[in-house]
């Protein structure tokens, strides 16, 4: 079947096998011609960690059952193809939510584990894998087994953030958390320099669970942006807002994101948010998942698709690096509506290849304009490498192998746990298999 990832950079045909609870490791054996596969869930990673040109895919949509929920401890056991959206919708009504969620709820639990996703509360709650009790892993070369932080811990560490390459994640036990409300008390602030961003971030860390900021990556004059921080409201009983169901109905012949629209959009967005400065209230769906309100928003980048570029750099070298990167982007005239700047806390990630580390993370998207976009990335790569940072595989479609190797010092250890029957476009590109 034809599959793309969220960046829509490719649209290849793959032999696909639907996974189910009943499927055993005999059926997972690589085919006679040595073709290897990767699990495809919702295709929400941006590049090629969920794709596998020249190989096959396993579809996790057949693994969509909830197995049990303990209403005392909050432990939820479910199959890997369950969507975060289903968990949030079902359990938030009962006062429970996922402790960590990425910026879209249209991802599977398996995908969240494999990419060890993070959310706006990284500084207070760590990443997705910090809340997992155990994972049931199916290997193409041995029977199913369970790994956890205490049992088969090395497998657990390789699998969280392991990009689906250590085996097929079939079932996961994770802890939900009690929340006082599905609504959040928010405060919106503006900043006009990175120093100011840094100060607001620091001031927010203790008293605000969620922090995120949008930054205008086209402004050459100063690094202005909007900082939004939030906590769950204390009062619980408020209604769910009616859902708006917007959709980008088709792929426009040209990217709607270009030099002209960008400047205008960023200006308009900054001013409209500035007006909203101060305290407010927001439902979790619009605060956590603003873009889920526009279905198929990735189509607006036109037929050539787009790249996402997310980096993290350590604090010490971080600010000058971020400043230099923003300068490169502003000068290039490329760049995005949706530039996000955030701090990561010091919570350790168990995953050998987990992306988050203490420091500053910047996420940007760029319409695919071919070589000039790739050239810009190479210039940013150099700044990231110099600062001792790394890129997020879930967002990546082009990082060179050297940058990956330099950014992920546990890579040699990780390689001991790979499943010989699995590979992805990403593994072929940066690890050579």
């Amino acid at each position: 079947m034809k599959l793309s990832s969220w960046g829509r950079l490719s649209d290849d045909n793959y032999p696909a096998t639907v996974l189910s609870r009943e499927i055993g490791n005999q059926q997972l054996t690589p085919s006679d011609n040595g073709e290897t596969s990767i699990v495809y869930g919702m295709g929400r990673s941006y590049g090629d960690v969920c794709l596998n040109p020249g190989g096959g895919v396993y579809l996790s949509n057949g693994l969509d059952r909830l197995c049990s929920f303990d209403a005392t401890s909050g432990e939820l056991i479910c199959e890997a193809g369950v969507l975060l959206k289903d968990i949030q919708t079902l359990f938030s009504a009962k006062g429970w939510m996922l402790p960590v969620t990425p910026g879209t709820q249209y991802v599977t639990v398996g995908g969240a584990v494999a990419n060890d996703v993070h959310g706006k509360n990284h500084h207070s709650h760590g990443c997705f894998s910090s809340h997992i009790n155990w994972i049931r892993l199916a290997r193409t070369d041995r029977e199913d087994f369970v790994c956890s932080p205490t049992k088969e811990a090395s497998w657990f560490n390789a699998t969280t953030g392991g990009l689906g390459l250590t085996g097929i994640i079939k079932e996961v036990s994770l802890n939900l958390r009690r929340v006082s409300s599905c609504w959040l008390d928010t405060e919106t602030l503006t900043y006009s320099s990175l120093a100011e961003f840094s100060q607001i971030s620091k001031d927010s860390e203790d008293d605000w669970e969620y922090t995120v900021s949008w930054i205008d990556c086209n402004s050459r004059k100063h690094n202005r942006g909007i900082f939004i921080r939030a906590n769950h409201s204390q009062s619980g009983a408020e209604s769910t807002p009616t859902k708006s169901r917007l959709r980008v109905p088709l792929v426009p012949p040209l990217s709607l994101v270009n030099r002209m629209t960008l400047t205008a959009f960023n200006q308009a967005y900054f001013l409209s948010q500035k007006q909203k400065s101060g305290m407010g209230k927001s439902h979790y769906q619009s605060y956590f998942y603003p873009l889920d309100g526009i279905l198929d928003w990735n189509r607006m980048y036109g037929p050539k698709g787009f790249y996402q570029y997310q980096l993290v750099v350590p604090y010490e070298s971080g600010m000058p690096a971020i400043k230099a990167i923003l300068h490169e982007i502003a000068v290039s005239g490329q760049g995005s509506f949706l530039s996000v700047l955030k701090t990561f806390g010091d919570a350790p990630s168990p995953g050998l290849l987990s992306f988050p580390m203490e420091g500053l993370t910047l996420a940007l998207d760029f319409p695919n304009r071919g070589d000039i976009t790739l050239q810009l990335f190479r210039r940013i790569d150099a700044i990231v490498a110099e600062a001792g940072g790394r890129l997020y595989p879930a967002k990546d479609a082009r990082m060179p192998a050297e940058l990956f190797t330099a950014g992920y010092p546990h890579l040699p250890e990780f390689l001991l746990y790979r499943d010989p029957g699995l590979s992805s476009g990403f593994s072929k590109r940066v690890m050579g298999w």
Partner: protein, 247 residues
């Protein structure tokens, strides 16, 4: 609590219908399946989704008439069902059937005779109770026989003609019979079709169409709805055109 029964509960379409029913309000639900452990994992999922619902699993032979009567008696001994969905089926391998009469008989039995026997047994109970909604899953394949799957189509066609007769019999009573005709749907049953076949509909959307059609007490529900138009055309194509088509 309303009482629901699903025959062939491991059918993906039926499982998604059940998710929709329990999402509305807690219900009393009996899942009947051939394979007890597979049926149980569906029951577990539904219990997590709706802790207030009472869900029981019953397993047994779904083909033998005596076993069917026994299963239905067992399920209905505590009272009538408000709603029953008969969902089981098997997508026959047409070319294998052409070489093997025993296989053909088996496919006709599981897709045609068995659902009819279940419907008959449950309908009688609903008639006695004076109310009920009975949904039977047929298929668009039952609308016109074609070379690529006429054994499957014949079984489903049998269900269609039976449902039509039962609707005639029960007209004016409190019992409604809904014949459901899904188009090709993305389920484990169609997993092997890959890209060679028609584009497959999303199973959750198909289930939503079925649930709303049964609630509205429609006689026939095509899911997705566009198949009503497609099958209208296919049913009326003159034979000299139809016979030239490779479908």
């Amino acid at each position: 609590m309303k009482r629901f029964i699903i025959i062939g509960a491991t059918s993906s379409i039926a499982e998604h219908c059940a998710r929709l029913w329990i999402a509305e309000a807690p219900i009393n639900l009996t899942l009947v399946g051939r394979d007890a452990s597979r049926t149980k994992s569906i029951a577990d999922d539904l219990k997590v989704r709706s802790p207030g619902s009472a869900i029981t699993v019953v397993s047994g032979n779904l083909v033998e008439p005596e076993s069917i009567q026994r299963l239905v008696n067992q399920i209905l001994k505590d009272g009538n069902a408000d709603c029953a969905l008969i969902a089981h089926g098997s997508l026959a391998d047409q070319s294998a059937c052409q070489q093997d009469l025993a296989l053909t008989a088996e496919e006709l039995s599981i897709n045609g005779i068995s659902p009819v026997l279940f419907a008959e047994a449950i309908a009688n109970s609903m008639v006695r109770a004076g109310h009920g909604t009975l949904g039977v899953i047929g298929s668009v394949a039952g609308d016109r026989g074609r070379k690529s799957n006429y054994v499957y189509g014949a079984g489903k066609g049998l269900v269609a003609r039976y449902a039509q007769g039962l609707q005639h019999r029960l007209a004016g009573t409190g019992v409604t019979v809904t014949l459901i005709k899904p188009g090709p749907t993305r389920t484990p049953m169609t997993a092997h079709l890959g890209d060679s076949g028609p584009s497959l509909a999303d199973v959750a959307k198909v289930a939503a169409t079925i649930v709303s059609g049964m609630e509205k007490r429609r006689n026939v529900v095509y899911a997705p709805r566009r198949w009503w138009v497609i099958m209208m055309i296919i049913r009326h194509l003159p034979r000299f055109i139809f016979n030239k088509m490779d479908i």
